[in-house]
């Protein structure tokens, strides 16, 4: 029996044949009488299987093992679970909406910018616009002046004058052969400057030392400007650099002193103190009258501590600043000096 005929017989058992298939099967059964017996056997077997199934009793143990499932009625679960499910969905929706609102609030889209509208020009369409050439198009044409060009065209400003280097006054007043000379220690430049002053150049402007002292001690500078022959008094202790230098008495030679004596400040008289033929101090006073007077000065530690008139004199002039002035290269003790107030005749 081929597969097709076998299937026809099987389907005939189940009454699954169409009319055409039933006719075909009937025709074949007429040709093959055993085929009808096969169909009958198939029907009996099918019934036997049915009876076999009906004879199979469920063991009582099955009910006992399934009983727990029967007691936990799924109806309750059916009632509860959808509620929980819907509650979860609602909570998720609320949460999502909240998050979306927060995100939208933080990322608020700025209002749209007004659309830029190009200005409408009344232009003749036939008008031809020629572009101006670029500044570099023609190298012969002058370039327009720009800020950089103006800066380059300006004359550079004069550099500031360098500030003079400070010079230290460390040496004592040098005296040689009775000729008055300013000693600046080992500074050859200062010595050179002092000699220049001695040759007749303006003492106040010529010496860098004098310039320095002018800045350091205005009072002394005033005296210098007013014709004071020296600036090396106690008042003119120069401040050079950051330290206070114990300025040695600095005196110009007699010629310079004589020139400067006539230039005391207004209302004051120039004063010089001579020890022999050399000037050991100079200044100005408003208390003394012009003239010459012999005096005795007492020097201790190089500083004038007293000024006394000599015996027989009518009095003594004590110009401001003499007492307390340091007179270098003058030994301590009593010395006879001549105090000259006012101008002296030039030698």
């Amino acid at each position: 029996m081929d597969d097709k005929l076998l299937e026809l017989v099987s389907r005939a058992v189940d009454d699954d044949l169409s009319a055409a298939e039933a006719e075909e099967l009937a025709a074949r059964m007429e040709q093959d009488p055993e085929l009808a017996g096969d169909l009958e056997d198939a029907r009996r077997l099918r019934a036997a299987v049915g009876r076999l199934a009906a004879s199979m009793a469920v063991p009582p143990a099955l009910d006992s093992v399934v009983e727990p499932l029967r007691r936990s009625a799924p109806v309750e679960r059916a009632r509860v679970r959808p509620a929980i499910r819907w509650f979860g969905v609602a909570a998720a929706l609320v949460l999502g909406a909240t998050v979306a609102l927060e995100v939208a609030r933080h990322n608020a889209v700025p209002p749209p910018k007004p659309e830029r509208v190009s200005p409408v020009h009344d232009i003749d369409n036939d008008e031809v616009f020629a572009l101006a050439p670029l500044p570099t198009a023609n190298p012969n044409e002058p370039r327009p002046m720009g800020a950089s060009d103006r800066l380059l065209a300006e004359e550079p400003p004069e550099p500031d004058a360098p500030e003079p280097m400070p010079l230290e006054v460390i040496g004592p007043l040098a005296v040689s052969d009775g000729r008055q000379e300013t000693s600046l220690g080992d500074s050859g430049k200062g010595r050179e400057t002092a000699r220049t002053t001695a040759s007749g150049v303006d003492a106040a402007a010529a010496t860098e030392v004098g310039w320095r002292e002018q800045k350091a001690a205005p009072a002394a500078a005033d005296r210098v400007a007013g014709g004071s022959p020296t600036v090396s008094t106690n008042e003119s202790s120069a401040v050079v650099g950051n330290r206070r230098a114990e300025a040695a008495p600095m005196r110009a030679p007699a010629s310079a002193v004589e020139t400067a004596v006539d230039e005391a400040p207004a209302g004051r008289r120039p004063v010089v103190v001579l020890a022999g033929d050399r000037t050991v101090w100079s200044g100005s006073t408003s208390a003394c009258i012009d003239g010459r007077a012999a005096a005795v000065i007492e020097i201790r530690s190089g500083m004038v501590v007293s000024v006394e008139g000599v015996a027989g004199s009518e009095g003594v002039c004590r110009p401001d600043g003499l007492v307390g002035a340091r007179l270098a290269d003058v030994d301590d003790g009593f010395h006879e000096v001549e105090i000259i107030v006012g101008s002296r005749p030039r030698k």
Binding site: D3, E7, L52
Partner: protein, 165 residues
């Protein structure tokens, strides 16, 4: 759908199928319990798109097929070191039907059914014992209807040969 109703309606068909496919009462009992546990779990998800019978038999068939595969692997590992598949022999002990109907024909039919290859046995049983339609059998086994027809025809021919009628 209430589980109790489902159980009352399908307890015997499921048991019978399990008995025919497992070959013995104990395994059939365990298998039936597992099948109804799955029915109980999935009952909420049943929306009635398919017939209830189709749905229950699908669960039963899927479980029994997997169960037989697991047992086949165990048998191969223990009894067949060569790795060849061993066709499970039916339980030689007479089934419950023996006690209900004392019939030589039924005994031979039972033995022949249990001796059928599984893919023939399940089709024959669902059709001749449980009276499912071709379409329902096709849905349960996830097969085309034509395949169900052809398999059923071969199963019946084999059963006839085995029974000797």
């Amino acid at each position: 759908m209430i589980f109790d109703e489902v159980y009352e309606r399908f307890r015997t068909p499921v048991w019978r199928l399990a008995r025919r496919l497992t070959g013995n009462d104990d395994e059939a009992l365990d298998a039936t319990q597992e099948i109804f546990l799955r029915v109980w779990r999935g009952l909420d998800g049943f929306r009635g798109e398919a017939k209830l019978s189709t749905w229950v038999f699908q669960i039963a068939w899927n479980y029994l097929r997997a169960y037989r595969r697991r047992r086949s692997r165990t048998l191969v590992a223990v009894d067949d070191p060569t790795g060849d598949l061993v066709e499970m022999a039916p339980d030689p002990a007479p089934g419950p039907e023996r006690h209900a109907v004392s019939s030589d024909l039924l005994d031979r039919v039972a033995a022949a059914v249990d001796g059928l290859p599984e893919h023939y046995r399940v089709v024959l049983w669902l059709r001749d014992a449980e009276d499912l339609s071709y379409a329902d059998i096709a849905a349960v086994l996830d097969l085309p209807v034509g395949t169900v027809r052809s398999r059923l025809a071969r199963a019946r021919a084999e059963l006839k040969r085995m029974v000797g009628v």
